[in-house]
Symmetry: C2
Subunit: 350 residues, 2 copies
């Protein structure tokens, strides 16, 4: 028998919590029967629901807390006053070793602030980053940061690159993943100082990383590289622009099919093909933003997703734990710090 993977779950985060959360746990158990849960939240709301999902009930330990972090609460305030919130207690359980990771669909800023405060960053990492998968013409890529760090210096970007590289090897199972820095052109001269300096450090041939160079926004969908590194402002805008464009496309396509009788018939005939297309780009499949660089697995679900989407976020956490991502990041940063090919080019001049 394999060991059970225990996840802390914030029952109170997301638009339709706790119903969507618990139904999502049920869907996740169908695909990952080795899961188990510590569920944090208001028992008066949770217990009646657990009665409807006996499979979840059997594998869940419920911990009552009346407090919850609201969506409009500022991160600092949530950190100070939310010590007994479902979100905070779920994170605490990771730190105490009772669970192997935490998933919440609540306030992103509060989740990051609490996770950073409780779990701390891994050795060698100044700031955690938010990462997610993107579908591409080739397969999929991972991009970070998506909003945790509005301003990033070159060192931050280099750390994101190393974390992303480890992620691509451990989780995407790529042998020699390629890394690109998001910029406004592929020439060395383009962009601002942070991206230019980060590119100079990553171009250092001693680093055990396949650095591709600069990539542009259209390289995300093209799948030019496996890991795309950027600051949190640009990454957040790129992520949401891609989501908005996908929504514009799918809405307009649906409207086009519905605009005429022939369109409706054609859509009906092509239904199986269209369903495959729709499934590939289903945003729920890409739900589950990963907080990388923390001493513990922490995954943020979209607040507005449904049970299937939430189950995908649980799957992301499950995968990060099984693939031992954090052990890989720790090993890589330790190696980088002892070898002469350190992250800091100045150290080579000694």
């Amino acid at each position: 028998m394999t060991e059970r993977v225990i996840l802390s779950v914030d029952a109170m985060g997301g638009d339709d919590a706790p119903f969507v959360v618990i139904e999502g746990m049920d869907l996740a158990l169908k695909r990952m029967p080795d899961l188990g849960f510590l569920l944090f939240g208001d028992e008066s709301k949770i217990l009646p629901l657990l009665g409807r999902f006996p499979r979840v009930k059997a594998l869940t330990e419920c911990r009552h807390t009346p407090d919850a972090v609201s969506n409009d609460e500022k991160a600092g305030a949530a950190l100070r006053s939310g010590r007994n919130s479902s979100m905070r207690l779920a994170i605490n359980a990771v730190a105490s070793g009772e669970s192997s990771g935490v998933v919440s669909a609540g306030n992103t800023g509060a989740l990051m602030a609490m996770a950073k405060f409780v779990l701390k960053t891994l050795p060698g990492i100044d700031r955690p980053a938010i990462a997610t998968y993107f579908p591409t013409l080739r397969n999929e890529c991972v991009m970070l940061d998506l909003g945790a760090n509005i301003l990033c210096d070159a060192d931050n970007l280099v750390q994101f690159a190393v974390m992303g590289e480890v992620f691509a090897r451990h989780v995407l199972k790529l042998n020699q993943p390629t890394i690109g820095i998001l910029n406004v052109g592929s020439e060395d001269l383009k962009g601002h100082d942070s991206v230019k300096q980060a590119a100079a450090i990553l171009s250092d041939t001693n680093l055990p990383i396949r650095f591709y160079g600069f990539v542009e926004g259209d390289d995300i969908g093209a799948g030019t590289v496996d890991v795309i590194v950027t600051d949190g402002f640009t990454g957040n805008v790129a992520l949401k622009t891609a989501e908005g464009t996908a929504r514009l496309f799918s809405t307009s396509l649906r409207a086009a099919f519905k605009s005429s009788l022939l369109g409706k018939i054609g859509a009906l005939v092509a239904m199986p093909a269209l369903n495959k297309f729709r499934d590939r780009f289903d945003p729920r499949r890409y739900n589950g933003a990963m907080f990388l660089g923390l001493n513990g697995v922490c995954v943020k679900s979209h607040g507005g997703t449904d049970a299937f989407g939430f189950s995908c976020a649980l799957q992301v956490a499950h995968k990060l734990i099984k693939d031992q991502l954090n052990e890989g990041i720790k090993a890589d940063f330790a190696r980088l710090n002892v070898e002469p090919s350190s992250l800091d080019p100045a150290s080579q001049e000694e």
Copy 2:
């Protein structure tokens, strides 16, 4: 009879110049018979082609120049050494009043540097910005800057907002266009200093502008506002991310239809509906990036577009001239500078 609109055209810019350029001029004349051209470039390449397009030949004055700006030339170098290039002479003709605007598919950085040097900026504008249309769920919006200014302070963003507002009124023909600043969240506290300060200035109720507030990347496709203001780094990434996502979608959709017999039949039946959809998102229709804030109309075509795409860039220039955009910008900035509701909130304290 209406007055002829004379455009300077750089015959040597773009991947398949001058053929695509001249064929594009031919297509443009079909839609805009009041056009006339000054065509700058290598006569040995141009004259044989003009023989094949008699309609263009009849309405074009050809000016020979052996020099052309290459795509990999740096902007500064092109500015110094390209005094006799087709691009530079095309711009000069706008400054001398021989033409009303210039269109080039050549090196973007060189075009901006030369246009700024020769045409100068309009009064009240520190830096010109690159703008383009985006299709949205509602209709279309305009976004600026898309790459001319990598770093922008609050004043730059405010100037972009005013230019974008004038553009939306004069060219999109909107009565009271709404303006949004691109950010990583809609709350006032999000983002870096430039966007926060710009939002504070634009929120000043004395300004004759409908400032919506912050928007996020997915608001571009949603059409939440008519004008989206951002720095050139973020705008360029957003533009290209949207383009890449659109390409990923259309390529995958085509592959889905082709993956099965039923898919192929369905696509055939729904062809008229699909064609309407395809036309709406045809990237060539959105070709023609506008350099706003210059004392003259300057439009940049994609280097890789075809004749139809180039004709759309010519159409954009034609429209900016007919709609008297620059006169509108001049009037608005003059008005802003004399009224107590100046762009600079400090001036109100006097």
